[in-house]
């Protein structure tokens, strides 16, 4: 790779079910101010801005980067929007990473957001479906996510109980997270007994709907020192896909995520992810996905995810903690969620995760994804 790139500033808004105190642009501004302050920089120090949001139908503003431009003072800078469904936050960070690695910029501000309280979420995301082919049966992303989970259940043993353990773990971890707006512990029994929405997905398998934004400052090695002596260095990052209705597409394993893991691990020198990573942050739109990610990310073999969650290894104090921040269970502003995972992973290796800190964390993995469960990315971050 051309040049080393580090994350030198992190910022998140106060997330909540509905922020009536700020507009979409104001929400973005809040995250940007915090990331810049964290990086000890001002907007004048930023060479380029990447805005990442979920689909525009979430919030009624087409090409919203052009609107939020004024609120963040990005005028007269390169400004671009990266869209990649729910994983767009990570995809945006990836674009910023290459702007620096490729010599286009020294410092890039990446901001991701969604203000989901403003639209009709399941209706708008149902337009993901081909208007001719299946849209009349669409149930947002929940319908197919539940269906794919059902398919994995028989083959891989991703049981309702195993998924419920993910809910219990993430909700418990969210208690430590100052940015989480859902702070309520649950039990396996409560998850299993919660109202089915798209069975096997039940109410407590589902993260909240949130308003929120997140921002990071990426920096070249040369420019990083002004912000911090301990950046989170990006050792590898990628975002892969698969055609949504390709013949032989597997609903059982996430092939694009497995491909991403193979490629990025090789670049980053990861040969044993379970042993080498100190901490993992995954974007779990529903609990069932976290089980699937364990397998695609190589934290366990296919079919062993249920055993892995049951073993306690992915708990806060386990040998491979997954989502010590609580993941999406604590707050889920979809377009920002991927970048929040990057932020939580970065804060671990930067040693500033406070009460969420995994002691001695030096190497972290952040995962993100979206679309028809067919866009998948990850980032390897190192102290």
């Amino acid at each position: 790779m051309g040049r080393h790139v580090g994350i030198v500033g992190l910022g998140q808004t106060h997330h909540s079910r509905r922020r009536t105190d700020v507009s979409q642009a104001g929400l973005v501004r809040e995250a940007v101010d915090r990331a810049l302050a964290d990086a000890k920089l001002a907007m004048e120090d930023i060479d380029s801005v990447v805005v990442a949001t979920g689909p525009v139908l979430f919030a009624a503003v087409n090409q919203p980067e052009k609107w939020v431009c004024d609120a963040i003072g990005a005028s007269q800078k390169p400004l671009v929007r990266i869209t990649s469904g729910g994983g767009t936050g990570l995809a945006g960070a990836l674009a910023g990473y290459y702007q620096i690695a490729g010599g286009f910029a020294e410092r890039v501000l990446v901001v991701a957001y969604d203000k989901l309280s403003e639209g009709a979420l399941q209706y708008s995301i149902s337009t993901l479906y081909d208007p001719f082919w299946g849209r009349e049966f669409a149930v947002g992303i929940m319908g197919f996510s539940a269906a794919y989970w059902r398919a994995r259940m028989d083959v891989l043993g991703h049981t309702e109980e195993a998924a419920a353990m993910v809910a219990v773990k993430n909700r418990k971890n969210a208690m430590r997270n100052p940015h989480a707006h859902v702070k309520k512990e649950v039990t396996v029994e409560e998850v299993l007994a919660s109202k089915p929405l798209a069975w096997p997905i039940k109410l407590l398998d589902v993260p909240p709907i949130s308003d929120g934004a997140a921002a990071i400052v990426l920096s070249s090695e040369k420019a990083a020192a002004k912000s911090t002596d301990r950046p989170a260095w990006i050792r590898g990052m990628g975002y892969f896909c698969e055609a949504d209705n390709a013949p032989s597409r597997s609903m059982v394993v996430s092939e694009p995520l497995a491909i991403a893991a193979r490629r990025i691990y090789r670049a980053a020198g990861i040969t044993n992810p379970r042993r080498q990573f100190d901490v993992v942050e995954v974007q779990e739109p529903y609990t069932c996905f976290e089980l699937s990610y364990y397998e695609s990310l190589g934290l366990c073999a296919p079919g062993e995810a249920a055993a892995l969650i049951k073993s306690g290894a992915t708990q806060f104090d386990g040998d491979i903690p997954v989502n010590p921040s609580g993941g999406c269970a604590g707050a889920n502003p979809i377009g920002a969620a991927g970048l929040i995972r990057v932020i939580e992973a970065a804060s671990q290796v930067m040693g500033k995760a406070d009460q969420m800190q995994i002691p001695g964390a030096k190497l972290a993995l952040a995962q993100s994804g979206g679309g028809w469960a067919n866009l998948r990315g990850l980032a390897v971050l190192a102290a």
Partner: protein, 373 residues
């Protein structure tokens, strides 16, 4: 470590038509993806990543890239969408290759505005509380830009008509654009009012089409038996969303983007053999020429008459054919083809080009790329 060089090695484009009513998005996309490898010795298996440009609002589906991945040849590859006019997608691809992160990138851009309400595409970009309810949109912004420009530089709508005729005529001669008939100046002036003083034929004409461009690293460019065109400068800049808060009569962001690109290319002046640039209207095009430094303020129109110097929009530019989300990438493809096959375009030994892309209401964002043969 110096970033590595990036070359444009090939491009493919559908005809640009007012409506491709017998084809779907995927048909347009897959045909340019199939075509872009011709003569390169490369195929889809060699492609490391895909960056694409398209719009959910124009396509009528959320995360529309998601539904078109197969047509794009993106299955199991890296893919991201950059939502602008395709030139920013190329910029992304170029930074990725320059970083050494990949060798071969496929850049794809497409639009089918015939399937949707094209005006809603821009109206929905406007802020929803003040601008949208009063009917402020890209037409209003263009009209007011035109009013101010014409008054300041003592030009008349007839001058704009002359520019439009020249562009439509060049498009019919040199570009893959479906042109029913080249309008006369009278036709342009008499066409329906869009935003006084601008008539329909003084505005860029939305068309359907797709384009693909292959970008490669220096190493690949040297290995394959095909003349490369090098990307030597990149610049991008956004102006304020508030149209009223922008500099009246100038495209500040376009000047900034051009300045950055020229500096990166090591150019002291914009002395390119040719330029391919886009704009929302005839006045917008004059303002772009001036912001790029090709003419002094108010003198963009003189470039129509001048012999020698930079040849502007031999393809006709975006007035006769504006495939919205692909216009900038079409400009890049056109400029590359003109550098490689000058005879086809009646050009003499061109060695360098300026490529310009834009987006937004009143041309809020700009991207400039310099090419050298």
């Amino acid at each position: 470590m110096t970033p590595s060089k990036v070359a444009v090695i090939s491009s493919a484009q559908t005809e640009l038509r007012s409506a491709w009513s017998e084809a779907q998005h995927i048909d347009l996309i897959s045909s340019v993806v199939a075509g872009v490898f011709k003569g390169t010795g490369l195929d889809l298996d060699d492609v490391d990543f895909i960056i694409d440009s398209g719009s959910d609002v124009l396509d009528g589906r959320s995360i529309s890239n998601c539904g078109f991945l197969g047509a794009m040849g993106a299955h199991h590859k890296e893919e991201s969408r950059v939502e602008e006019d395709g030139l920013w997608a190329a910029l992304y691809g170029a930074t990725k290759i320059a970083a050494g992160g990949a060798d071969i990138g496929l850049i794809i851009a497409y639009s089918k505005p015939s399937e949707s309400d094209f005006n809603a595409f821009y109206a929905t970009q406007c802020e929803p509380f003040y601008q949208r309810p009063v009917g402020f949109d890209h037409r209003a912004a263009s009209g007011m830009q035109a009013q101010r420009y014409l008054a300041k530089h003592k030009l008349a709508p007839k001058d704009l008509a002359g520019l439009a005729v020249k562009r439509w005529s060049d498009a019919s001669r040199y570009a893959k654009v479906q042109i029913p008939s080249v309008p006369s100046e009278m036709d342009v002036l008499a066409s329906v009012n869009v935003a006084r003083p601008l008539t329909k034929l003084m505005m860029s004409r939305p068309v359907d089409g797709a384009v693909a461009v292959l970008l490669v690293s220096e190493e690949i460019a040297r290995r394959i038996n095909r003349t490369p065109v090098w990307i030597t400068g990149l610049g991008a800049s956004a102006d304020r969303h508030s149209f009223a808060a922008r500099s009246a009569g100038a495209l500040e962001a376009c000047e900034k983007a051009a300045k950055t690109a020229y500096a990166r290319a090591g150019w002291k002046r914009p002395e390119a053999s040719l330029a391919e640039l886009g704009a929302s209207s005839a006045v917008g095009e004059l303002m772009v020429m001036e912001a790029l430094g090709l003419a002094k303020p108010g003198h963009g129109i003189d470039l129509l008459k001048s012999e020698g110097g930079t040849v502007v929009n031999r393809s006709g530019g975006s007035l006769p054919a504006d495939p919205i989300m692909a216009t900038g990438l079409v400009r890049l493809a056109e400029a590359s083809r003109q550098l490689l096959y000058p005879d086809t375009y009646d050009l003499r030994n061109p060695s360098s080009a300026i490529v310009h892309g834009w987006g937004g209401v009143g041309m809020q964002t700009h991207c400039v790329v310099t090419l050298e043969a």
